[in-house]
């Protein structure tokens, strides 16, 4: 086979170079033609959509009067808070910055440890530097003198950066069904998140329908159906390998005809660098609004163990589907999910919900203070 080697290589190189060259050249031409066109603003607020208030968190300032009155919050809220559950993870791993506390002075080691703590939490080098630099200036100016003050300043800065975001899940106030679309890479927990959110919403008195838009992964629909049974939600599925857009469309139509208020639409996990799959997802989102439904939330599900790649995921999914919020899952493990801090502060996509366990009520509203405390290890 030895003398064949170069033949193969030549052919591969030739076909690749030629074929790809043609494609890219064509693409460059079309792109330059497209770029001169004015792009309309990405999302326009739907007049029929207002934030609901039964899942408010912390310092929410939007108290829209027009909001529909849903069941009492106390009935809905699960017994566990983010703090209860995160404490388990926190006690296992001493806080990343704990060792800094109680030292007598701020020295080079202090900075190294602070930086390392943030990096270990997957906050990322860029965001970490941007967080620490202004604090460094304040230390130089003698505004901050002890390590304890330093950690407090960092904590305050991080909480400040997460303040003011709207973390409610939007829905329509008129009759038609609201659609919440769930997107993300493979294995982050989209289906499980939908199952838990369905239970939460159904418990709050909302009528819910689950649409099994993951027609790719084997038995994904069965998995979602199990969740639908647990929460008493309606369930719509299609054939395995079928068209996801039409499954979700059918789900919305069924919801509209039966007066169901909320459609939770599952999609197959996909890597954000697969252009054809991202195009498919964009189509799913468009088709979901073809009928009676309005997509009021597109939620990107991110696994807390995700590293710096999470930023790329958020960018690509946002481009394809106008992501409105992030759900971070598996935060009850040893990973601290610092990447969602980067996603929210760098890209402005608010974190809305947090998955902290396997049971049906282990999905809770995101609480910035709790999150930061778990991250800096107080």
């Amino acid at each position: 086979m030895d003398d064949m080697t170069w033949v193969y290589l030549l052919l591969v190189a030739l076909v690749v170079a030629f074929g790809v060259g043609v494609v890219l050249l064509g693409r460059r031409r079309t792109r330059s033609a497209v770029e001169s066109v004015e792009v309309p603003p990405a999302t326009q607020p739907d007049p029929a959509v207002v934030p609901d208030d039964d899942e408010r968190v912390g310092d929410l300032e939007s108290g829209d009067e027009a909001v529909v009155d849903v069941a009492d919050e106390a009935e809905v809220a699960p017994p566990r808070s983010m703090r209860d559950r995160l404490s388990k993870a926190r006690s296992t791993l001493s806080g990343a910055l704990g060792s800094v506390l109680g030292r007598s002075a701020i020295d080079a080691d202090t900075w190294d440890e602070l930086e390392e703590g943030l990096l270990l939490a997957d906050v990322g080098i860029g965001v970490t530097t941007a967080l620490l630099d202004p604090i460094r200036d304040r230390v130089t100016a003698k505004e901050i003198e002890t390590p304890n003050e330093l950690v407090a300043a960092l904590r305050a800065e991080m909480i400040e950066r997460l303040a003011g975001a709207d973390r409610t899940l939007a829905r329509r106030i008129d009759e038609g069904p609201s659609v919440w679309l769930f997107v993300g890479v493979n294995g982050v927990g989209k289906t499980t998140t939908i199952g838990k959110l369905a239970a939460r919403e159904a418990g709050a008195g909302t009528s819910v329908l689950l649409a099994a838009g993951d027609t790719f992964r084997a038995a994904a629909a069965e998995q979602l159906e199990t969740w639908a049974q647990r929460s008493g939600a309606e369930f719509v599925r299609g054939a395995e390998g079928g068209d996801p857009a039409s499954v979700i469309f059918d789900g919305v139509e069924r919801a509209a005809s039966r007066g169901i208020q909320l459609v939770l639409a599952d999609t197959a996990g996909r890597l954000h660098n697969k252009q054809n799959l991202m195009d498919e997802l964009a189509k799913v989102r468009r088709v979901a609004e073809k009928g009676a439904g309005v997509v009021t939330e597109t939620l990107l599900v991110i696994d807390a163990t995700t590293g710096q790649n999470g930023l790329a995921q958020a960018r690509e999914f946002r481009e394809a589907t106008a992501v409105t919020g992030v759900v971070v899952t598996k935060l009850d493990g040893s990973a601290k999910g610092g990447i969602v801090f980067a996603i929210e502060t760098e890209l402005g996509i608010p974190v809305k919900y947090v998955g902290i366990g396997e049971t049906i009520d282990d999905l809770v509203p995101f609480d910035a203070t709790e999150f930061v405390d778990a991250l800096v290890g107080r």
């Binding site: 030739l14 076909v15 050249l25 294995g187 927990g189 038995a219 590293g307 493990g333």
Partner: protein
């Protein structure tokens, strides 16, 4: 993956190149950049610290030495260090003397255990083994159904029952013996490394089946937690190797580097796509080459050998050299190339590919218009592109659902390519066939005509072959420019 890491290293190399002396400040700056590059690739903080310190020692040595090009020495130190970390042998599976060879799959939720269990079964089947899959994930709804569906797709039996995971694993082993299957793969539920109860359960599963290999499945997109998780699983289960899943994403896979460094166990397999055969043994040395931009020739050739028909390929190459390469030949080779997997993967393995090409988002579907255009040509047109006049062009454009401009471009570039190849065929020591014969063994390099004597063929040369020489025909010309 690793793209940004290698391009950053390239950037550093460029700036250091030709520097007569390195100052302390130079070294500091370079170290900062290397550190940032590694951290952005999700290499574990502690591993980064150790690596950077080792490289720094070399670098400082280089600043003191009177060697001609200290910059080059720094780059070499970086390369050596990466190869050392990634390095090592490919894991060789040795089968149990008394079958079945038992394999336990473990990992976090969503890392891809079920899918990779099936992929691994498919791999064993390709090795001539008879695997049995056991579904011991009774936690996640429909996990066993998923495994059964996948098992049916690859024609491997799946065994499970709704009892208790430890019981299922033990009974599965008995079942494998009864059926005479020689490889047993046990899929388990995803679990968090800090969940004591679940970790105890997987330990009991492990004790009950006494696996020959325990594989930890890790998502290539994992961040700093990879090391934590891997260490915890290793403490409980004695991991033998890691299966990297979702390596077809654009994650830089620093987790891969770190896990190997921290638990000292190799990455055994890598999953590189959604299809069940997108799964291969992991070759650390080849991956090191890929990171460092040297391409991955061995894998490329292996895949090409599987995809191309030897006779056809040889004939096509000969015609190519003689300038008689037709659209039909091209189409044929394109079909073969498709069998080699996703185009972006093939691109990544090509040595000397221009960066812009490697990083370009190429979808296999992007080539469909090219195919459509060629398929809309008549037989004569394919053999003699010069026949294609204006009215034929518009007919082809309509038939293929493209525009006349696209057809024009394809035809023009194809004829340029033919000319180039003819010229190059003539240059290669007297014609294609002779050159190839001579190329046998350690003879003259058949790529001599490409201007890379005695070296591996370099696509950069092909690039110059297409570009530059004929105005308006450069397929790569504009790629280097920022958008």
């Amino acid at each position: 993956m690793f793209d940004s890491l290698s391009s950053r290293l390239d950037g550093i190399a460029k700036r250091l190149r030709g520097k007569g002396r390195l100052t302390e400040a130079d070294v500091d700056e370079v170290m900062r950049e290397i550190r940032t590059a590694l951290l952005e690739a999700d290499v574990n903080v502690q591993v980064v610290r150790a690596v950077v310190n080792r490289i720094r020692e070399h670098a400082i040595g280089a600043t003191r030495s009177k060697a001609l090009d200290p910059g080059q020495q720094v780059i070499k130190a970086v390369h050596d260090e990466l190869i050392r970390i990634l390095g090592g042998e490919t894991l060789r599976i040795s089968y149990a003397a008394k079958p079945p060879t038992v394999i336990l799959m473990a990992g976090l939720q969503g890392s891809g255990k079920t899918t990779n269990s099936a992929k691994l079964a498919s791999w064993f089947k390709a090795q001539g083994r008879q695997p049995l899959l056991v579904g011991a994930d009774l936690q996640r709804p429909a996990a066993v159904e998923q495994l059964r569906t996948l098992g049916a797709q690859i024609d491997v039996p799946v065994w499970s029952q709704p009892t208790d995971p430890v019981q299922v694993a033990a009974d599965g082993l008995a079942e494998a013996r009864r059926l005479g299957r020689d490889v047993l793969i046990v899929d388990t539920a995803g679990r968090l490394s800090i969940d004591a109860e679940m970790m105890d359960q997987v330990r009991r599963i492990s004790e009950s089946i006494d696996p020959d290999y325990t594989f930890l499945v890790i998502d290539a997109m994992t961040g700093q937690d990879a090391v934590q998780t891997a260490s915890a699983f290793h403490d409980t289960l004695e991991i033998d190797g890691v299966i990297m899943s979702k390596l077809d994403g654009d994650a830089r896979g620093g987790a891969a580097l770190s896990v190997k460094e921290v638990i000292g166990r190799p990455i055994a397999f890598a999953s590189t796509g959604e299809k069940l055969d997108a799964f291969e043994q992991f070759h650390p040395d080849r991956m090191a080459g890929r990171i460092l931009g040297m391409g991955d020739m061995l894998t490329l050739i292996e895949q090409a050998e599987r995809a191309f028909e030897a006779d056809q390929a040889e004939q096509a190459a000969a015609r190519l050299m003689e300038g008689q390469f037709t659209f039909d030949d091209f189409l044929e080779q394109m079909q073969a190339l498709k069998k080699m997997g996703p185009l972006s993967g093939v691109l990544g393995m090509m040595p000397g590919m221009p960066k812009e090409l490697k990083n370009a988002k190429i979808d296999d579907d992007d080539l469909k218009p090219v195919e459509a255009i060629i398929r809309s040509m008549t037989r004569e047109e394919r053999a003699r592109p010069e026949l294609i006049n204006g009215s034929r062009r518009s007919r082809i454009a309509t038939g293929s659902g493209t525009s006349v401009a696209e057809v024009n471009r394809l035809v023009k570039q194809f004829s340029e390519m033919q000319k180039m190849m003819k010229r190059f065929g003539g240059a290669a020591s007297g014609g294609g066939r002779k050159a190839r014969r001579a190329g046998k063994g350690s003879g003259p390099n058949p790529f001599g005509g490409l201007g890379a004597p005695g070296q591996t063929p370099n696509l950069g040369d092909l690039e110059s072959l297409f570009g530059g020489q004929v105005p308006g025909s450069d397929p790569f010309g504009g790629l280097g420019r920022p958008k």
